[in-house]
Symmetry: C2
Amino acid sequence: MEIAELGEFGLIRHLTDDIEIKNPETLKGVGDDCAVLAFGDDKRVLVTTDLLMEGVHFDLQYTPLRHLGYKSAIVNLSDIYAMNGRPRQMTVSLALSKRFCVEDLEAFYDGLRMACDAHGCDIVGGDTTSSLTGLAISITCIGDVAKDKAVFRNGAKDTDLICVTGDLGAAYMGLQLLEREKGVYNAQIREARQRGEDLSALPPFEPDFSGREYLLERQLKPEARKDIIEALDKAGIVPTAMMDISDGLSSELHHICQQSHAGCRIYEERLPLDYQTAAMAEELNLNVTTCALNGGEDYELLFTVPLTMHDSVSAIPGVKVIGHITKPELGLQLVCRDGAEMELKAQGWNPLKMENRE
Amino acid sequence: MEIAELGEFGLIRHLTDDIEIKNPETLKGVGDDCAVLAFGDDKRVLVTTDLLMEGVHFDLQYTPLRHLGYKSAIVNLSDIYAMNGRPRQMTVSLALSKRFCVEDLEAFYDGLRMACDAHGCDIVGGDTTSSLTGLAISITCIGDVAKDKAVFRNGAKDTDLICVTGDLGAAYMGLQLLEREKGVYNAQIREARQRGEDLSALPPFEPDFSGREYLLERQLKPEARKDIIEALDKAGIVPTAMMDISDGLSSELHHICQQSHAGCRIYEERLPLDYQTAAMAEELNLNVTTCALNGGEDYELLFTVPLTMHDSVSAIPGVKVIGHITKPELGLQLVCRDGAEMELKAQGWNPLKMENRE
């Protein structure tokens, strides 16, 4: 179905009509100038926003729109958890180029709603407009947290333990894999064209992802660590500092150390890696530690807790202690497997770096 | 200065470092995963968002970045006032193509901050990333309103008076004027090229805006009607329904009537018009009433009040009663100057209409 048939308001109604409100704080969702929310005196409201651009943040050649919707929600939900909060509401703005049809948007919203449902988050508004070029997605997520439970980046103290959840580097490896297969596919098409063959007669392209499904899932369908926030709460642990790992562990450690006026020491042998990540790194001749430190898009949590909590935090499934906070003058150090120490550089993905700004 | 020199975090710091927090509810702004806000039990939180795309919503050939920043803020602030609220916080996301330099963004933020300062709104976060093509601007504004003072679109009742603020159609006329002068300029360049002339030797282009300054200002530097919200409050008036006029009066009346299950009758002779709007319409051979009804981008307020409030609402400077609400079966009617009645069609600007989706 052509989007123009529905028009802007028709499209919004079509996509949001059957959205059920899940939170009592959501008094009014889609359909007025603003969404209307209620929060009590003992709560803090959290707001985060992300702008995702086609060709920069995602490649529609290998990203199904359902996955894109899911991931777009997750990256914002993850920021709310990173404050020790719970997501409550989300606004979703899309700028669409002509090539999208209503079914495409339904797929996007399906994924988006699947993520929101899993995390108890209401879609309360947004903006749908056109784009002369690629797809732009802007999402704002609102959450809440008890007055005294919000966790910032600036509270890490000397001797605090540094913890990460899940494993690192897999999403980055998934991206490398997708890019490799895209290259193979595009080369096949190019060669067929040069030979003057009928492209529609080519056998369907079958990308080689066997044994690498976990990496693909980490790239295309990441998760936000609601489970960890719940487990920390249950264990009575409020981290001293926390953030989510979107640009890469190394970059995030720099943020926490800078804002906490601290240094850190982490241990290479303690970095959590999945077997597929290590195998793929070897296949691509990449250093797996570099990938784990700088790959990004993990959407795991990085947090610090007082040393005294070692046992209780270690008992939470999926949490790994990778090092500790030090005095600021000691800098940010990585202790390698051979015992050598090297300075941690923040080489996380920077969308404004020269080479990325094509 | 090249943006790449600063990097993403450097750029954000550069643009937001000296932002002073104005609202006690803003506990934490830029610099963490989320902004952190506090709202009391007796308040409602309002959230609105807009996504503005280069080539669709603005043309950088004639829109100075300072004005674009100002207007980007205003369109969101206006939505908060449209709920009878006060703006408190704003997040600002930008996707930038390579051609922008740091000074461009400073100009954008100057305009943005000028608007936020005038309306007591804190900039609390955002996202700055790159775009392969044009500039994308996504703004989310958060406001609050006393529990029992929020005004929706669905409260208009039979016999309520329909009021609009300011005057209508001027922003649309300003756009026509800018487009006309852009056409003249582009034609001069084209002709000079055809004659093989040195373009840099051409005399500077002087667009003809004389006597039309008000129209330009309405298009490039619109205002949000904080003053009206304050005046209504002072007069003890809570409208029964309200929204801001962004897509055109006609389109907005359809929203209010649809959501309030009502009809309306408005009077052509009572539509507020500026002299320059009328003169420009005549010059361009356009029907000025059509422009006032469907032009859009006025960012004035449209609201309804009970009939008994006629005198108190008429006494507010800048407010004009243009008609009244009727039973739904009477439809939406425009009473023309000659007494004839015609149905009001919503022809407001639709960014997803076929002809706009190039």
